[in-house]
Symmetry: C2
Subunit: 213 residues, 2 copies
């Protein structure tokens, strides 16, 4: 398999975690988003949306959209499961994932913030937009997991909910958002203790800038 991503893309980060949890090895192709490499003709031929991530399977099939890719990996490689077994539990985990993937991330990603600047918003208003979006969304997530969390967002094993939560917490730090979410932060600590999550961190990727020193 070949993952098309970028070290700082939080959608690609999700897929890296899922691949790691499934114990799958893959080649990594970096597309530097700030240089617009995701819109190069060669990549658009793979993914007409010009977004990362995309997962190329060994037979040449290309999967796009990070949550769809995670669900594919869960169906094609069932062990360990990334969703509970019962429909109600699965709906709960998917709903948590979508709080982040539908209500937070699309409203604060690189592309949207750039459009806000193009519409004349000053940089402090752009940064406030991102922070507010993240804080409102994570507040809802925190409130939701009161009823569902064990060591992880849902019970005691990592699920797709954690896979989207962790990169979003990374974005929260980047934008200086409040981090007053004790349950989410406890889940994050439990995740970071797992090799699959640690290996998926942006700064652990080959296209990350070298550490300062």
């Amino acid at each position: 398999m070949r993952l098309h991503g970028f070290f700082r893309s939080s959608a690609a980060w999700r897929v890296r975690i899922a691949l790691g949890l499934k114990g799958l090895s893959y080649d990594y192709v970096s597309h530097r988003l700030l240089q617009g490499e995701q819109r190069a003709p060669q990549y658009l031929a793979l993914n007409p949306q010009g977004l990362v991530p995309a997962l190329e399977l060994d037979d040449g099939q290309v999967l796009t959209q990070s949550l769809a890719i995670c669900e594919y990996l869960d169906e094609a490689y069932p062990d360990p499961p990334l969703l509970p077994a019962d429909p109600l539990g699965r709906a709960t985990v998917r709903s948590l994932a979508q709080v982040v993937a539908c209500d937070i991330h699309p409203v604060q990603n690189l592309k949207i913030l750039q459009r806000l600047r193009e519409n004349g918003l000053a940089e402090d208003a752009v940064q406030a937009w991102a922070r507010t979006t993240i804080e409102e969304g994570l507040a809802a997530y925190e409130q939701r997991i009161v009823r569902t969390a064990g060591r992880f967002s849902f019970g005691d094993t990592p699920t797709i909910a954690d896979i989207v939560l962790i990169p979003q917490l990374g974005n929260a730090r980047r934008f200086g958002a409040a981090l007053e979410w004790p349950r989410a932060l406890a889940v994050e600590a439990a995740c970071q203790a797992l090799p699959a999550f640690a290996a998926a961190e942006p700064l652990a990727q080959p296209d990350a800038p070298p550490p300062k020193g």
Copy 2:
């Protein structure tokens, strides 16, 4: 079952279609979004995010996030299926659905447009923001379904992809977006011929304004 929605919410519209395709009857509770009724304490107790839709099951469990609800309905009531049987087909349908549910709708919904106004954007810039978002997203959707569509977005039976496409085309018309998507419009025509899609239309809901005349 009890669906909490609003006639014009495209996320609630998705769930109405899914319920209809599954042949499920339900009670309908309307929350007038423009009056902020989705943030009333009684509703926040059900759904802390203060968003529609939410689906209350007969045992009192509450499901949120429209795609999670649709997947729940597909797992709890498998006939007719709303996803293909094979993992690759399922990934393709989910990816199509997420083009709309992650990359279009969250960037053009009521809440975001209101935030743009609060950030000083003039009304024509707000409308252009919505139109551009929809047009770019539907262009990608149209290009994707070249390879997958039969009568519907994926093959010859309706899937979750169609369930999100149809309300998005409704939004495209509301915002005066270009409708230069022959395949998507052919899929829409096939959907509209089905009773489940017709019954889910916003203006067919009890909380829609009465027809003018």
